[in-house]
């Protein structure tokens, strides 16, 4: 079976974490982009197509929650999974109310992470599929009008 890589954008101010995690994800067959701040994350999203953002909540400057709000505003179809080293699951839950797909506590279990990435990508695909169908319907109706 050919596995379709998930386009992941990994965002964390911990550079070592970003480095090693991107090695692992790449090795597992995902396409990985990295960013070390909220701003950099938004820049990457304007440049490249991304399925899922893995986003650390606690970052200096623009934190994960602010970044999440901005992502949802500018790129509503991109799925976000929050990463937190914090015990504040409350923040993570708040994040989910703002549209994040799920959250993971650091240090996270890699298979958990993979499962959630996959599920997030699937949701995005389905949503895009629905949009495509809706667009097609719209197009058909328009051409029928003629």
């Amino acid at each position: 079976m050919i596995r379709i890589p998930t386009r992941v954008l990994l965002v964390d101010d911990e550079t070592d974490f970003v480095e090693i995690m991107s090695l692992r994800l790449t090795d597992s067959g995902e396409q990985v982009l990295t960013a070390h701040s909220g701003k950099e994350c938004l820049d990457r999203l304007t440049e490249k197509l991304v399925d899922v953002v893995l986003l650390d909540i606690k970052m200096p400057g623009m934190d994960g929650i602010d970044t999440l709000k901005e992502i949802k505003k500018q790129f509503p179809l991109v799925e976000v999974i929050l990463l937190t080293g914090h015990g504040s699951t409350e923040t993570a839950v708040q994040g989910m109310k703002l549209g994040a797909f799920d959250y993971l506590l650091k240090p996270a279990d890699f298979s958990d992470l993979s499962t959630k990435l996959e599920a997030a990508r699937l949701r995005k695909d389905e949503q895009e599929e629905r949009i495509r169908k809706a667009e097609a319907k719209l197009l058909m109706r328009r051409s029928g009008d003629v």
């Binding site: 974490f17 090795d27 409350e90």
Partner: protein, 376 residues
């Protein structure tokens, strides 16, 4: 009021017998002694509140007796009886610590009221002492609470800071595993050794993660979600969760639930965590074939849960530390020392309180009292 325990001392037996008889008519029982030495003998054997003693006695004088009483039984009050001609004895007596003196011949009303006054003084002293002890216990409690609160904040802060490097170690180890997994046969030297080392790293990370996550869980201000709870079902559920361990040690869990209380209100998840931790501890502390008791009582608006075991008990010196984070008597890796710390945090959040009664060889009994929050 408790009866006054009285001792009369005089070398003239008929005199104290007469007084004792008249006091008895007024509801006061007295012990009698005809010398200072005999009086001290009685004091050694039985508790006495007030001593009434003649000053002039052969052998040990009343003043000597007073001195000995002050020394050996400082809580006893002494009333001296002095001869009509020697009021100086009485003054000396008061200086030496007597409650008061009366001159012979003694007016019985007068003596009675003096005895009552002396007894009142003892009661006041007792109350004062009890109050001081209570205040001290409260202050100790406040200090302990503050200490635990700041320890908790500190621990959570550290836990958070540790999680980030821990995540890096975790991913790095995982990355190495991925590489090993993909390497061809014989491609990496001593692969088995490396795998063994990785396994150790992973186990250690897992252990550290459990600790940090638990610690962060304590401080986290989870909002209470109150709901109706079926008491017997709730308790049965918790007991089921420890069944595996009780089966291994053949431990029986006896429950004692109130008949009239079927339903109560609280946060079931948090309360379950509390009772589960306490029950697990009780099972761990128990010998094989022992019985652990779960008792529930309704006390006004409070519900009291008592979990007691018949294990080795908790020594006094551990009792104060037992709710502190990381206090454990289990070997490294077996217990994190966070169980009771978490319990205490949750109980506080539930606006209840937790008490421990235990002693070496007496088992342990944890009582958790929480409000039955119908109000929501």
């Amino acid at each position: 009021m408790e009866p006054i325990r009285l001792l009369l001392v005089d070398d003239e037996l008929y005199f104290i017998e007469a007084i004792a008889k008249r006091l008895k008519k007024r509801g006061m029982e007295a012990l009698l002694a005809t010398s200072g030495a005999a009086g001290l003998d009685i004091l050694e054997k039985q508790p006495v509140d007030v001593v009434v003693s003649d000053v002039k006695m052969p052998g040990m004088s009343g003043l000597d007796l007073l001195g000995r009483i002050r020394e050996r039984f400082p809580k006893i009050e002494t009333i001296l009886l002095t001869g009509h001609a020697s009021p100086q004895d009485g003054v000396d007596g008061i200086k030496a610590g007597a409650f008061d003196y009366l001159t012979k011949p003694v007016e019985i009303d007068h003596l009675e009221s003096k005895i009552i006054q002396a007894h009142d003084k003892i009661q006041r002293e007792k109350d004062k002492l009890r109050e001081a002890e209570l205040r001290e216990a409260m202050e100790r409690q406040i200090i302990a609470n503050k200490r635990l609160a700041s320890l908790g904040t500190l621990a959570a802060g550290i836990a958070h800071e540790i999680n980030n490097p821990l995540a890096i170690i975790n991913e790095a180890a995982g990355w190495m595993r991925q590489i090993l997994g993909k390497s061809r046969e014989g491609g990496i030297e001593r692969k088995a050794d490396i795998e063994k080392a990785l396994e150790k790293i992973e186990t250690a990370v897992d252990r550290a993660r459990r600790i940090t996550h638990q610690l962060l869980g304590v401080v986290r201000e989870t909002p209470l979600s109150l709901s109706e709870i079926d008491l017997s079902e709730f308790i049965a559920d918790i007991i089921r969760l420890v069944e595996k361990e009780t089966a291994v040690k053949h431990i029986r869990i006896a429950t004692n639930l109130p008949d009239h209380l079927k339903i109560f209100w609280s946060d079931p998840f948090q309360l379950r965590q509390v009772l589960l931790n306490l029950l697990t501890n009780a099972v761990h502390a128990s010998e094989e074939n022992a019985v652990v008791t779960v008792q529930v009582q309704e006390e006004g608006q409070q519900i009291l849960f008592r979990i007691s075991d018949t294990g080795g008990g908790i020594p006094k010196e551990h009792q104060e530390k037992i709710f502190e984070p990381f206090f454990t008597t289990k070997p490294p890796g077996k217990g994190t020392g966070l169980g009771l710390f978490i319990v205490r945090g949750i109980v506080q959040r539930l606006q209840g309180n937790i008490r421990l009664e235990s002693g070496i060889g007496k088992g342990a009994c944890f009582s958790v009292s929480i409000p039955n929050r119908r109000d929501g």
